[in-house]
Symmetry: C2
Subunit: 513 residues, 2 copies
């Protein structure tokens, strides 16, 4: 068995059985090894940015790592932006990156690049396999690293000869070490703080959906604190039956207002809420200057244990968590507005839907209109790197084949990774993609005003607008093998959305708005 | 004048007047400053991979640097693969990357990332502006660095507050230092070696087109040496009137055969020819073991001076360089074959065409069929990172608005940066894009055989083939605002190609092959 074979067997023995792939020549032995193991499902993305976001979406929904297969440093570079989103989501994944044979690296061949260097700018764990007999144990170590600290990006670089030379027997990945935990006195102090007026428990990670959200809900019921979640969440359970958790917003001033009455924030599984950008004269953080911040349990620590410990300290096990009741809006009609689109989603989202949201400015009101929708999960582009939305939907759909995925995207965002449409068609994924076609980077018009410019001039307009020519999303979808339609009224949108929900496989709706 | 304004004025004062851009919020003050200077032409790419390849293509054809405008670390990540191609081409460019305000960087906001770290994995020069008054001099230093050593990637990172706070007066970039030169005794020894039997002068950079190619041609005429060029060249003049330079190939064995009679290679402006990949049992370098290698002048040294010095040492100024005569193939007809497509290009390429070539396996025979075509320039994806071809054509067309650009691309390659089609339409660029639609990563089928696998199995097929569904390139072009057609016979191809050559603006031809 060569090194590549030992790695494939190590992955399968360790429970890694999906690989989002863009292989090249340096990965050929790995590909040949995959051919011997059809139980490792290989999904082709036509661009590496699709692989990393798909693995991210897969982890968020499945709680298990997927692999990516990337081709040397440029392949890793193409995956970088969505690795950034994944890292901010605390998603775990295993990147396998082929490199030149170690003895070939002394020459400056065209594809030679700093694979290790670029990996270390974003992965929490990077290793270059030194020889074929180490590949299996390196792979197992990478899988363990990926699963550590609630989720990490682990990158294993395989010089081609380590794949083709004789390897060792496969290795099953060790169970990762338990993440660090707060001290008991910190738990007690935090529990006490949560009982004071104006206290909020800021949640992240798996605490945003069952079963941990119920634990948090009971803590809130007992202590009287509020549950908060930052704006860009990897995944939050929403709609009917979901534990009530108040979300923060994108706009600095709105968050300042939202936190006006908050005197204490206890962070558990969440970083400190921070303004997305700094602006001249605006604050970098939204809370009041005298708000007490208790950084109890950062995302990489054991927030599952911590929540249970808080619950025990408060004796909240017998409480009943506040839950959202079903409260769907009327189905709207007439001309399209963004508010009406939000209402339509609130009215029509099916039970169990998974929403991937990169709607940017178009979706600013969607949270309010969908709060009482049928139960669903909502996933955002956590790192703010645009181009995460469509491939995130790919990964979520692979993870949950029985649930409908709804991908909300701005037209500017969707252009970054539109190749994902093809993978949706290839894999017959149940994804309804909704492109909000305002033909502009609308957010930049707003940001220009934020920096004090009243009106965009010629160069700004050239860089902000995507008119002249207009993108034709129905043609783009068709080009990728995905059926779609363009809608210009709410009646047409509602009908198209229901069609997309009911049909198997992917569908795309271009909404002129 | 704020820092951003001082930078824009510094760029214009230093001769940088084109910017391929994907701005975001952290670049808003720079965008506002650009609005005050419409003489700096801003060209929107809908994905950052387009900006870096376009700046690369611009430099290769114009010999001047263009800027890119990128949004934080993820924007730089998206540009990375084509920065790799540009670096391997020794192309110069100025990347301007916005980052968070320096005082905001202490917080872990969503878009915070290691901008400096990722830049340093590919740029030869990176600097983070420390304050607004330094921005102008930093910009000038970046431009000088980009122009140094025949061409470098220079990246200037601007924390947002350095753009909006009060800056200094603009600074004109200093002329770069003269690159290092070989010693006179090295010139004399190399000149002597070139006169020996089996000698070859291996050229790169500007030595591959006029006026330096003529100097090289005269050296060859006088010394009896052969002129060689490596497979992936940034730009080479070909066709009628071009100095005769023999190109190496992609396949290892073919290059071994090609260099069998070569006893001495003198490198001038070129790295050492190297096999693209290592394969078990195949050599990493193509020359015979006893071939003498004289690394006279690597690409970052002064190969212009070196060529003239060699010419002087040989007293070759009065010689006549061997030049290619016009020798166009018959216009082919009937069913499409790759050879016939090469012949059609050889027959129909217009005088002065610029060909950007990412045709990968489809184009293996094109060099032989176009050698006697009308005079043209040929540009390749120098770093082997796929996705360079279409945006390289964008940059070349912006640099040379009076010349026709022909972008040859495989379907797999074109999917990486298909957004470039929109920029072609937006800027009315005279580009004929030819997509060789074999619906597969054909090169990988060959590479699998190279590693010893006879036939691709299920997983390999899933990762190599782009059938099921087929991509519809005419629809994809239409979606981006570009007219196109699909051809299945040579007659149809010839007619479509002539139509594309004659019409202004972009045109796309999908060739089923």
């Amino acid at each position: 068995m060569n090194g590549a074979g030992s790695l494939v067997k190590t992955m399968l023995a360790s429970g890694v059985n999906v690989c989002f792939a863009n292989p090249g020549t340096s990965e050929m032995h790995f590909v040949a090894a995959l051919d011997d193991h059809p139980d490792l499902r290989c999904i082709l993305c036509l661009f590496e940015g699709g692989t990393s976001a798909a693995a991210d979406g897969y982890f968020r929904m499945k709680g298990e790592i997927a692999a990516t297969l990337l081709h040397l440093a440029p392949g890793f570079g193409n995956a970088w932006a969505n690795l950034h989103n994944a890292r901010k989501a605390e998603s775990a994944m295993l990147n396998i990156v082929g490199d030149h044979a170690s003895y070939h690296l002394r020459y400056d061949s065209p594809l030679k690049g700093d694979v290790k260097g670029i990996s270390e700018t974003i992965s929490q764990w990077t290793r270059v396999s030194g020889d074929a007999v180490s590949v299996a144990s390196d792979g197992a170590a990478a899988i363990t690293a990926a699963r550590s600290k609630n989720g990490q990006i682990a990158t294993l670089i395989l010089p081609a000869n380590t794949a083709w030379e004789e390897g060792s027997a496969p290795v099953t990945a060790a169970v990762p070490a338990v993440p660090h935990r707060p001290r008991e006195d910190e738990i007690a102090a935090a529990a006490k703080s949560l009982c004071a007026p104006g206290a909020a428990l800021v949640l992240g990670g798996r605490a945003l959906f069952e079963p941990l959200s119920e634990v948090a809900g009971k803590i809130a019921a007992k202590s009287g604190c509020e549950l908060l979640v930052d704006f860009l969440t990897p995944r939050v359970a929403r709609g009917e039956g979901a534990v009530v958790i108040r979300p923060l917003k994108y706009v600095v001033e709105e968050n300042v207002a939202a936190l006006e009455g908050v005197r204490t924030m206890v962070l558990c599984g969440s970083g400190r809420p921070v303004s997305f950008f700094a602006y001249p004269g605006k604050p970098s953080v939204p809370e009041q200057a005298d708000c007490q911040l208790i950084d109890l349990c950062p995302p990489e620590m054991d927030y599952e244990w911590t929540l249970h410990a808080l619950s025990a300290a408060l004796d909240s096990g017998g409480e009943v968590a506040a839950r959202q009741v079903l409260d769907v809006p009327e189905v709207p009609s007439g001309p399209v507005t963004l508010d009406k689109l939000g209402q339509a989603l609130g009215a029509l989202l099916p039970q169990g839907a998974i929403v991937t949201d990169e709607s940017v400015t178009s979706g600013r009101s969607f949270a309010q209109h969908t709060v009482g929708a049928r139960g669903h999960d909502w996933l955002k582009s956590t790192g703010g790197a645009i181009g995460g939305g469509l491939p995130l939907a790919v990964g979520a759909a692979v993870a949950c084949p029985k649930r409908k995925v709804v991908a909300l995207t701005g037209d500017g965002s969707a252009m970054y990774t539109l190749q994902s449409l093809w993978t949706m068609a290839r894999e017959r994924l149940d994804v309804v993609t909704i492109v909000f076609a305002n033909q502009t980077y609308q957010i930049l018009h707003g940001e220009l005003v934020n920096v004090g410019v009243e009106k965009a001039g010629r160069n700004a307009t050239q860089m902000f607008d995507m008119m002249d020519p207009s993108l034709d999303w129905v043609a783009l979808a068709q080009g990728h093998g995905v059926e779609g339609e363009k809608v210009e009224t709410m009646e047409a949108f509602n009908a198209a959305f229901l069609k997309g929900i009911e049909m198997p496989g992917p569908y795309l709706i271009e909404v002129i708005c």
